[in-house]
Symmetry: C2
C-alpha cells in the first residue's frame, strides 16, 4: 500500500483515484480551484457529481486550499488536470511534492512555451521545474484508450505509461496495475505524448462526418470515415517521428487505439458533430464549456497546426503533408465549410497513387509517408 495523491477532482482525476483505491492504496483526491463544487458534493452526498458513482471509502477528498495536506508524504502523484491546467496546478504543488516522488500524468495536449513555441507537456514541465525548483520531476505520461467513466467502473482498460526514467516507470506500473487496468511501459515518451495530443484533434474529423450526415448534406459515410481515420494515423506517424518518437507508437494503443475510442465516443466527437451540423466551432466550444463539457480537441487542432507551421519554418517538413489537419484547422478556425473535410481524400489518394506507381514499384498498401 502506498500514499497516492491525485491532482484534479474532475472526471479523469477521480477515475484514476478509484483505480488507485481499488489497488489498495491510501488515496487523497485534491480538487483544484475549479473543483470546489465537486468536492463539496462528494462531501455532502458521497457521490461524484459528474461520474455519478460513489467513491470508494479509502479516498479522502481535499479542497483547493488543503493542497499541503493532500501532498504530505505522497509516494506517487497522479496528475489528472487538463493540459492547460497542468502548469498552474504545478505552480502550487512544486514545493509540496516530496523529492523523488514520481508524477503520473494523463494530461493530453501541446503547450506553447514562453517564446510561443509549441512543446510537449513534459518538456514544458521540465523547463518550468528547472526555473522554479532547480530540478526535474520524475515524470510518467499516460497514453492509450481510457475513458474516465469506464475506468471508474472497472471496465478492462489497456494503457501505456511512458517515461525516460525507467525506475520511476517500473515503480508506477507496479503500483498502479490492477486486474482491470493493464499497463504497457514504454520508453517512447515523445511518441506517446505526441499521439495523446494529436488524437484529440484528429478525432474531431469523425464527428464532423457524423454531423454532415445528420444535417442531410451527406449519406452515412463509414467508408470515408475509415479512410480519414487511416489518414489521421499516417499524419500522426509523421509527426511522432519529427518529434523524436518511434513512428510505430502511432499504430498501437497510444495512437490508433486512443484515436479510435475518441472518434467513436465522447466530447470531441460530439464537438465535431455540431461543427458538421453547421454551428461555428467557437460557438460549439463556448456552449460545451458552459456545461463543463471541456473539448480538448478544439485547442489541440490549433496547437497541432501551429506545431506543423513551426516544423515547416524550421525546414523540417512541408505543410502539404498534413492535408487532414489543415482541413480541420480551416473548418474550425478559418470558417471553411465542413464539407472541405471530404476534399482531403482525393488529394491524399492522388499523391499516394503517384508515389506508389512511379516511385515505389514494390510499394505497400497505401501510405505515402
Amino acid at each position: 500500500m502506498a500514499r497516492v495523491t491525485v491532482l484534479g477532482a474532475g472526471f479523469m482525476g477521480s477515475a484514476l483515484a478509484t483505480v488507485a483505491a481499488h489497488r489498495g492504496h491510501e488515496v487523497r483526491l485534491w480538487g483544484t480551484w475549479l473543483d470546489d463544487a465537486i468536492v463539496d458534493a462528494i462531501h455532502h452526498a458521497g457521490e461524484h457529481p459528474r461520474l455519478r458513482i460513489r467513491l470508494p471509502g479509502r479516498i479522502a477528498v481535499f479542497r483547493c486550499d488543503e493542497i499541503a495536506g493532500a501532498l504530505d508524504d505522497a509516494e506517487v502523484v497522479l496528475n489528472g488536470v487538463t493540459s492547460e491546467g497542468t502548469l498552474p496546478v504545478l505552480a502550487r504543488a512544486w514545493s509540496l511534492i516530496p523529492l523523488c516522488t514520481p508524477v503520473v500524468s494523463v494530461s493530453k495536449g501541446f503547450l506553447a512555451d514562453q517564446d510561443g513555441r509549441i512543446t510537449r507537456i513534459s518538456e514544458a514541465v521540465a523547463a518550468a521545474a528547472q526555473r522554479t525548483i532547480g530540478r526535474q520531476l520524475r515524470w510518467v505520461h499516460v497514453g492509450g484508450p481510457s475513458k474516465a467513466l469506464e475506468l471508474a467502473r472497472g471496465v478492462p482498460t489497456a494503457v501505456v505509461y511512458a517515461s525516460h526514467d525507467q525506475e520511476a516507470l517500473a515503480e508506477c506500473v507496479r503500483l498502479m496495475q490492477t486486474e482491470h487496468y493493464f499497463i504497457t511501459p514504454s520508453a517512447d515518451l515523445a511518441g506517446v505524448e505526441t499521439c495523446s495530443a494529436l488524437k484529440n484533434a484528429y478525432a474531431i474529423a469523425s464527428g464532423i462526418c457524423d454531423g454532415l450526415t445528420l444535417a442531410g448534406r451527406c449519406h452515412e459515410m463509414h467508408n470515408a470515415k475509415a479512410a480519414l481515420f487511416t489518414q489521421a494515423i499516417r499524419e500522426m506517424c509523421v509527426l511522432v517521428r519529427l518529434m523524436g518518437g518511434d513512428p510505430l507508437t502511432a499504430y498501437d494503443l497510444a495512437g490508433a487505439g486512443d484515436l479510435l475510442v475518441t472518434a467513436v465516443a465522447g466530447r470531441n466527437r460530439r464537438f465535431g458533430e455540431m461543427v458538421g451540423l453547421g454551428v461555428p466551432a467557437a460557438q460549439v466550444a463556448a456552449t460545451l464549456a458552459a456545461t463543463n463539457e471541456l473539448t480538448e480537441g478544439y485547442p489541440a487542432i490549433r496547437t497541432s497546426w501551429d506545431l506543423v507551421g513551426q516544423l515547416a519554418d524550421d525546414g523540417r517538413i512541408q505543410t502539404d503533408h498534413f492535408p487532414l489537419l489543415r482541413a480541420l484547422h480551416a473548418i474550425t478556425y478559418e470558417g471553411a465549410d465542413a464539407l472541405a473535410l471530404l476534399n482531403v481524400l482525393p488529394e491524399v489518394m492522388a499523391a499516394t497513387a503517384d508515389s506508389q506507381l512511379s516511385v515505389h514499384p514494390a510499394g505497400r498498401g497505401g501510405g505515402a509517408y
Copy 2:
C-alpha cells in the same frame, strides 16, 4: 469507355457495377445461379432489391445462363462474388474471359486447397487456372474500407488495388478511379489479401463486446474494444509478414481502415453482437443465412485459425502469439463463453509489459511483436 463485366449481382458486385457505370463504361452485370431472383427483380422493377437503388441505365443485366454473352469481348472483369463462390464461378468463366483481360476481385477470405492447406484466394485461383486453362489470369485484388451500399451511393471511398502484374494494376486503376472512388495501387498482393481475409474475423470481436453490454453482463466498454482493436492489428501484422506481405500494410487502408469499417457497421459486427448476447455462433450464422445475410467473418475465423495452426505445424510461429484469434475461435467454434474475449487483455498486456521492461529498454508504446 471500356466494356466491363461484373461477376455476381449481389450487394458488392452490383455496387461495383454502379461505380463502373458512373465512370462511363459499358457495364454488364451477370448474376450467378444464386442471383436469378435479383436479376428478375431488376428487370421487372428497375431497382436492385437488396441495395434498394435504381441501377444506372448503362448497366445491362444478365441471368446465370447468359454468361457467354456477359463476358463477350470484356476488357475488364470485376469479380464481386464471395470467397467461397469464386472458384465455382470461375469454373464457368475460365474459357470465356478474353486472353489478357484483367480480373479485379473483391472476394475476401482464405480458401483450403485440394490438400486442405489454407491459401490466399489469388493463390487458389492461380493453381486452378494452371490446371484448367494452362495459364494465369491477370489478377488484381481490392482491399480497404468499402461498404457496398455507400459505394453505390457515391460516398467518398478509398481502396487499395494490389497485384503482382504492374501493367494490369495501372490499367485497372486508370479505368476504375472516379471522383468518389479513390484507388491506391500496391504491389503487396500478399499483404493486402491477408488483411482482407483477417479483418472479417477480427471485426467480430467488437460485436461480441457490444453483445455482452446489451446482455447486461458488462458495462459499455469502449476502452476494451479499442484495446482489442489494437491487438487485432498486432496479430494481423504478424500474419501479414508470415504470408510474405509488408507488415505496414496492416496499419493502413487494407488493415486498420477496413477493420474499422467492419467492426463499426455491418453484418460481421451484428453476428458478433448476437454471439455476445449468448446465441451459439452456428445458430446465428444459420439465422443470418436464412435472410441472405452472409457473414464472411464466421468462416474467416475458422480458416484464419487453421492458417495459424498450419504455420505452427510448419514451425514458423507459436499459436500463443494470437490470443485474440484463439479466443474468437474458442467462442465461435468451441462453445467458450463470450466473456473469454476479455481474458485476452491481461494475457497480452502481461506479455507485452514483460518484454518491454526486460528485453527492450528502448521499447515502443506497446506491441510485443
